[in-house]
């Protein structure tokens, strides 16, 4: 037996972000895998301790590049819990719309992104173009395309611009009409079938062992385990949506779930636009005087929401001063990205390694932080 060491990443079209896996291969079977994070370590947790509560708003969206809004939401939710701040009703609904738009954009990106490891590049071109329409909406709402800094403690930064509701409805109707075409392009393709059906399994025991959440968990344990359902935040308890779940999790199931969840996100956005109060305040007053010198009462709280990859949470510790005392980030893909790669990537073939990363939802920036 002859073993060869191969490097997957940090620069590789099949990797998401600058993340590396050292693979020891025999033939084309991986015998041993070592995750090598740290190339995107920017020291966010330390930086946050040295900035004001308000100043951190510009920093936190950068923790996860593809889906920045959950960071803003968990940060705002944690501070609201510590400071006992009541968020205005309209702000809750606007937050939901923004979060679901972000989830939709991220699912589109990963549905297209699956094209790269299986060799269906058309899908990624289509989805990048369609995701751009959602970024246009973000630009109109928040002024920025990727890092929005829109959800702030006490509500949202500013009210929705006039007439944006019709525009959102028009865009999501277009994306809804496109989803069947994606289904035909990707899910019915024999190339895709050959690579994903009964490949890269995720049994229920592994879910509990690692602590995988999100689509991976729901597709394995056959229960609707989603933070939006189990402990609803914002106004998720007032909208109706059904999430897919299954007892058998292979790569194909997990990608299929992304389609169904994208449809559900569209339905949630429609309901939110219909049910939200048409006017009212969108931001509670959190401090008197200089917002930069604003203090949060002492305490420790864990706030979490459901991002597109699973449970995303912050442990926020305040000592009552102008800066956070400690913030720890739970990246949704931390368990499968590190221990999962080390324990369960071996046994797969080299060409399935990037497919493994993709369908397990490994996102390097939130692992490194």
């Amino acid at each position: 037996m002859k073993e060869v060491k191969l490097f997957l990443g940090p620069q590789h079209p099949g990797m998401h972000g600058n993340y590396s896996v050292h693979m020891y291969v025999d033939g084309d079977i991986i015998n041993k895998a070592r995750p090598m994070p740290g190339m995107l370590h920017r020291g966010f947790e330390k930086l946050m301790e040295r900035r004001y509560w308000m100043g951190n708003l510009a920093l936190i969206p950068r923790i996860c590049v593809v889906e920045p809004d959950p960071n803003e939401m968990v940060y705002a939710m944690g501070i609201e819990k510590l400071g006992k701040i009541e968020v205005p009703e309209r702000a809750h609904w606007i937050r939901m719309i923004v979060l679901e738009l972000a989830r939709l954009a991220n699912h589109l990106m990963s549905i297209g992104g699956i094209g790269a490891p299986v060799g269906l590049y058309t899908a990624s071109y289509w989805s990048t173009a369609d995701r751009d329409l959602l970024l246009d909406i973000f630009e109109k709402i928040t002024g920025a395309r990727v890092y929005h800094m829109y959800i702030v403690p006490g509500g949202v930064r500013k009210d929705l611009p006039e007439g944006i509701e019709e525009e959102i409805l028009k865009t999501i109707a277009y994306i809804e009409s496109r989803l069947p075409e994606y289904y035909d392009l990707v899910m019915k393709s024999p190339i895709f079938h050959d690579r994903t059906v009964d490949n890269i399994l995720l049994p229920e025991e592994v879910v509990w062992e690692l602590g995988v959440t999100g689509i991976g968990m729901r597709s394995a344990v056959n229960k609707e385990y989603d933070i939006r359902k189990v402990k609803p935040y914002a106004r998720y308890d007032q909208v109706e949506f059904n999430l897919p779940y299954a007892p058998y999790s292979d790569a194909f199931t997990r990608v299929r779930f992304k389609y169904i969840e994208a449809e559900q996100s569209i339905s949630i956005i429609r309901q939110a636009i219909e049910k939200m109060p048409k006017e009212g305040s969108v931001r509670a007053k959190i401090s008197t005087g200089n917002a930069l010198r604003w203090k949060v009462p002492a305490g420790m709280v864990y706030s979490c929401i459901e991002s597109s990859r699973g449970e995303y949470g912050y442990l926020i510790v305040s000592d009552g001063s102008e800066m956070p005392y400690r913030i720890a980030v739970r990246g949704a893909s931390y368990p499968q990205g590190l221990l999962g790669v080390e324990k369960y990537l071996p046994g797969h073939r080299i060409d399935d390694a990037s497919l493994w990363m993709d369908t397990m939802g490994v996102c390097a920036p939130e692992i490194d932080r």
């Binding site: 740290g38 330390k46 509990w208 602590g211 959440t213 864990y302 449970e311 442990l315 221990l339």
Partner: protein
């Protein structure tokens, strides 16, 4: 809230609980002695807290202590439990919990790297994870000053203003 109170009563009947606080509805923080952590965690796992959501550290430098926080979650009732314990800051040693939650392996490496807390029984915990070739004190400790570190490590360099040599004019 009722289910939370019944869990608290249950835990108080079985273990020595130092303190319980409720930071939020559906969330409670339980303080225990460091020798009780493993028994409490394995009991929690049997009553449905199957998922370790996060494990992290806090440096309380004024009290000269480290705090280790284990966040476990029960998906059936939606309650997060923050199990907290304090360690001496001079000699922070703790036993690994990978026997109870195997997913803790990398969290322990993470904490070892950023706080310098040793986890006995986790052979991987001494390996570098994020900070390769780090030669200073663990960076998430409160007495570590990143500004001084970067000034020392990357001293300011002087740039000369005329770094492009003069080019003769072609006639």
């Amino acid at each position: 809230m009722n289910s939370m109170n019944s869990i608290v009563d249950d835990l108080k009947g079985k273990f020595d609980i130092i303190n319980v606080v409720f930071p939020d509805d559906m969330q409670m923080a339980v303080d225990v002695d460091k020798n009780d952590v493993h028994t409490v965690l394995s009991y929690l796992k049997t009553i449905g807290y199957k998922q370790l959501s996060l494990m992290s550290g806090v440096d309380w430098i004024k009290e000269n202590e480290f705090e280790v926080v284990f966040i476990v979650f029960n998906w059936d009732n939606g309650i997060h439990i923050l199990l907290r314990t304090r360690l001496d800051r001079e000699n922070p040693v703790f036993r690994t919990i990978t026997g109870i939650y195997p997913g803790a392996q990398y969290y322990e490496r993470d904490i070892h790297e950023f706080f310098g807390i040793e986890f006995e029984g986790n052979p991987m915990s001494y390996k570098d994870l994020f900070l390769e070739l780090w030669d200073e004190m663990p960076p998430m400790r409160k007495d570590f000053d990143p500004l001084a570190y970067s000034q020392d490590k990357f001293p300011e360099r002087k740039y000369e203003s005329q770094f492009i040599p003069e080019v003769g004019v072609i006639k």
